[in-house]
């Protein structure tokens, strides 16, 4: 039974956590792609930036002597999301909008987003140094151990407090996005513009407003995802740069431009990663005595150090077998 608990901890809980972060990032990328038709490479750094904004607010709140029953980062998160949305708008105004006005091709915008990536990274490291920070410098992370002894297991299922927040907030964010896109006038306008930008313009939809709303949503979701990631691990300047690639894989696997696809893609990639590096031999351990000797002790599909390659292998297979993604993305 302990082996099964190990599986739950290593694969299901980790996959859920990873999937939440990937999903929130991929939704932003897919929305931006749907509206503006370019792959926004700086999204990972938008996440890092958001996490740093939250961190600064947390420090400020602590300095003001504010105490709360929930982690301070969660308390200041709404404000941080607003600030991050503003930053995203500013980045668009400063760097992407002038290029769009000139009628630059999406590829040029993609290259510009690389420039933005480098600038954000440079600035963050300039101000914060390269050191690693933790949201839990003073108070230790609360850890929940769910006792599984009634199933005959001696080990508990382990979930940390930020992980629970992360999964809960992801569900809330996804539901909010769903209602926004299907119920509100602006959300439908966004879908219309992603579907057919020319017709949206002809219909009198204020396309500039839609673009702004897109950046606001993408920026605030990026802040949420970045903060969650920083809470779960630690806050580093290259926090999200390392996960931008799996996030892109998630967005493409889900079909670029498809919000629901991006969410599904995020969880798919998240679980695939945890399952690929999981040592399946663990599950065989109870039957070890009855099994032949030649079965090795390590049955992970790929060694842990190759975790990053899992997302790409999925991506490449999807691109080759079903290039529009599993949920039929927009073609451009």
């Amino acid at each position: 039974m302990n082996e099964l608990i190990f599986f739950v901890n290593k694969v299901l809980v980790s996959g859920m956590v990873l999937g939440s972060i990937y999903a929130l990032g991929a939704v932003g990328i897919t929305l931006i792609f749907g509206i503006l038709r370019f792959a926004h490479f700086a999204h990972g750094d938008l996440m890092t930036l958001g996490a740093f904004v939250t961190f600064i607010l947390t420090v400020m709140a602590a300095a003001l002597g504010i105490v709360a029953p929930i982690p301070m980062a969660i308390l200041v998160l709404p404000l941080a999301m607003v600030i991050a949305a503003g930053l995203a708008l500013g980045i668009d105004k400063g760097f992407y909008e002038p290029l769009r006005k000139r009628g630059a091709k999406p590829v040029i915008l993609l290259i510009a987003s690389i420039g933005v990536t480098l600038m954000i990274q440079g600035l963050i490291r300039l101000f914060s140094g390269v050191s690693t920070r933790s949201f839990y410098a003073d108070t230790p992370k609360q850890i929940f151990r769910i006792d599984m002894s009634f199933l005959g297991a001696s080990r508990p299922i382990v979930v940390t407090e930020p992980q629970i927040w992360m999964i809960g907030l992801t569900i809330i964010a996804v539901l909010a996005l769903h209602f926004f896109l299907t119920r509100s006038r602006l959300g439908k306008g966004m879908r219309a513009m992603a579907d057919n930008a020319d017709l949206a313009q002809v219909s009198g939809i204020n396309t500039k407003l839609v673009v702004r709303v897109t950046w606001i949503i993408a920026g605030s979701l990026a802040c949420l995802a970045g903060t969650m990631l920083a809470l779960d691990v630690t806050l580093k300047p290259d926090l999200a740069f390392n996960i931008i690639l799996p996030i892109f894989a998630a967005a493409i696997v889900g079909g670029l431009g498809q919000s629901y696809g991006a969410i599904a893609g995020g969880f798919l990639v998240g679980f695939a990663e945890t399952m690929a590096v999981f040592n399946w031999a663990v599950l065989l351990r109870p039957f070890r005595a009855g099994l032949p000797d030649w079965i090795p002790n390590d049955l992970s599909i790929v060694p842990t150090e190759y975790k990053l390659t899992v997302a790409f292998t999925i991506l490449i297979i999807v691109l080759l077998v079903k290039p529009t993604g599993l949920f039929k993305g927009v073609s451009s």
């Binding site: 630059a104 490291r125 690639l245 991506l315």
Partner: protein, 425 residues
């Protein structure tokens, strides 16, 4: 246009002389070698992006492959490895991989034997899984054994020049595989796919300790010309030995760059270049005129990768150390893009200029920002705000910001680069 290019090159020469006066000769010669090697890589990207319109965000992967190639060829033979069971075990790995490849190829051809599409697909998946398991069952123990007994496989002890050539060749082979997989994709997908593949290459090289020694690094890697210590052995003083040795290396690199430039310019001026431009600007109409767009694009992708591989090899042998942990997308992919965009995509002299110029900016922005920070720090200390902590590591980050700023400014104010493509009718 030619006047403008000449003026820019004069300015660049002036900048290099200025650097030499301030920073000294050994530093400047080293800077020049690295800048030219990166320019060679930028020329490779210019072929792919400027001529072919192919988006390659995996430059780092090719540079790493080139570095591995020169290490493998030129590092001395590891007798411990050849005396052990290692070669035999690797032979078994090769056989397992070969059988696996045959299985996959067989499964790919199954539909010719009349298998239904569903059977065909399942057989393909099964073949891949079996091949992977066979390969892993051989490679895992072999890798463990070699790492324990001999450290790593070592090199072949051949002249460095062969290593550079092998770098180009190996990069070409990998470009062929990548091109076969990814070139049919849309631009943005291609960008992500290439960046992903380069990350996979990095993960492999970093972790295949038995082959590359991974993060343990390999050194010293020999030079094609006498090294500083060789001069010192003849009684030349340290300062001059560095200048002489690096100048010798520089001369070899200049020859390589000139040969590459000559060949590309000739090819580009001829019918091949015309066809490439036609494909880039409108591949649909080019296809309708009977041009085999896909294999032409593959050709150009491989061609560019060869230069990247050679450039990577030159960089590694110059540094005398192969450290897979030292490769970062910023320093090895994005900076090359900045070079090509700022220099002028589609113009070789633009890419060359961009390569040298951007590298100088990149290297110099560190000491300049450091000086700036020290001044600001002294100022803030003077007014009682305290000094800025960690000036060293912070000012190092300044250059990342500068790089980003340069590329966004270039895209906005000089989208065609400083020495733009000459549009030939």
């Amino acid at each position: 246009m030619i006047r403008r290019a000449a003026l820019l090159y004069f300015g660049l020469a002036g900048l290099i002389i200025l650097v030499a006066l301030v920073m000294g000769a050994p530093f400047t010669v080293r800077l020049s070698v690295e800048a030219l090697a990166l320019s060679l890589i930028a020329l490779g990207l210019n072929i792919q992006w400027g001529y072919g319109g192919l988006f390659n965000f995996g430059v780092m992967g090719f540079i790493m492959v080139g570095g591995f190639a020169v290490t493998f060829i030129s590092v001395p033979v590891n007798i411990e490895f050849w005396g052990s069971e290692g070669p035999f075990m690797l032979l078994k790995v090769l056989i397992a991989a070969g059988i696996g490849a045959l299985l996959i190829m067989g499964a790919n051809r199954l539909h010719r034997l009349g298998a239904s599409p569903r059977w065909h697909r399942s057989a393909q998946v099964a073949a891949w899984i079996v091949a992977y398991i066979m390969y892993r069952s051989q490679i895992d123990p072999a890798a463990k054994y070699i790492e324990a007994e001999a450290g790593f496989v070592g090199g072949l002890g051949l002249p460095v020049i062969f290593g550079w050539m092998f770098g180009g060749l190996l990069a070409a082979g990998i470009a062929y595989i990548i091109g076969k997989i990814a070139l049919g994709l849309r631009t943005d997908y291609l960008a992500i796919a290439t960046i992903g593949i380069s990350e996979i290459i990095r993960a492999l090289i970093k972790n295949m300790d038995w082959l590359t020694r991974g993060t343990l690094t390999v050194s010293p890697i020999p030079w094609p010309v006498p090294r500083p210590q060789d001069y010192q052995a003849f009684g030349v003083d340290t300062f001059n030995s560095f200048v002489f040795a690096r100048a010798g290396y520089l001369a070899v690199v200049i020859v390589v760059v000139i040969i590459a430039l000559f060949l590309i310019q000739r090819a580009y001026g001829g019918p091949w270049g015309r066809m490439m431009r036609a494909i880039r600007d409108n591949h649909i109409s080019a296809a309708s005129m009977g041009k085999d767009v896909k294999s032409r694009q593959l050709e150009i992708f491989i061609f560019g990768a060869v230069l990247m591989g050679i450039g990577g090899a030159i960089l590694t042998s110059f540094a005398q150390i192969y450290d897979p942990g030292g490769y970062q997308p910023i320093n090895h992919t994005f900076i090359i893009w900045v070079m090509v965009i700022v220099g002028g995509a589609g113009n070789n002299f633009g890419a060359l200029f961009g390569g040298v110029f951007i590298y100088i900016v990149w290297v110099l922005s560190e000491p300049i920002s450091q000086a700036m920070f020290i001044n600001i720090s002294q100022f803030s200390e003077g007014v009682g705000w305290g000094a800025i902590p960690d000036i060293e590591s912070r000012s190092l980050q300044m250059r990342v910001f500068v790089l980003g700023l340069v590329i966004t400014l270039a895209l906005r104010y000089a989208p065609r680069g400083l020495i733009p493509e000459v549009v030939r009718k």
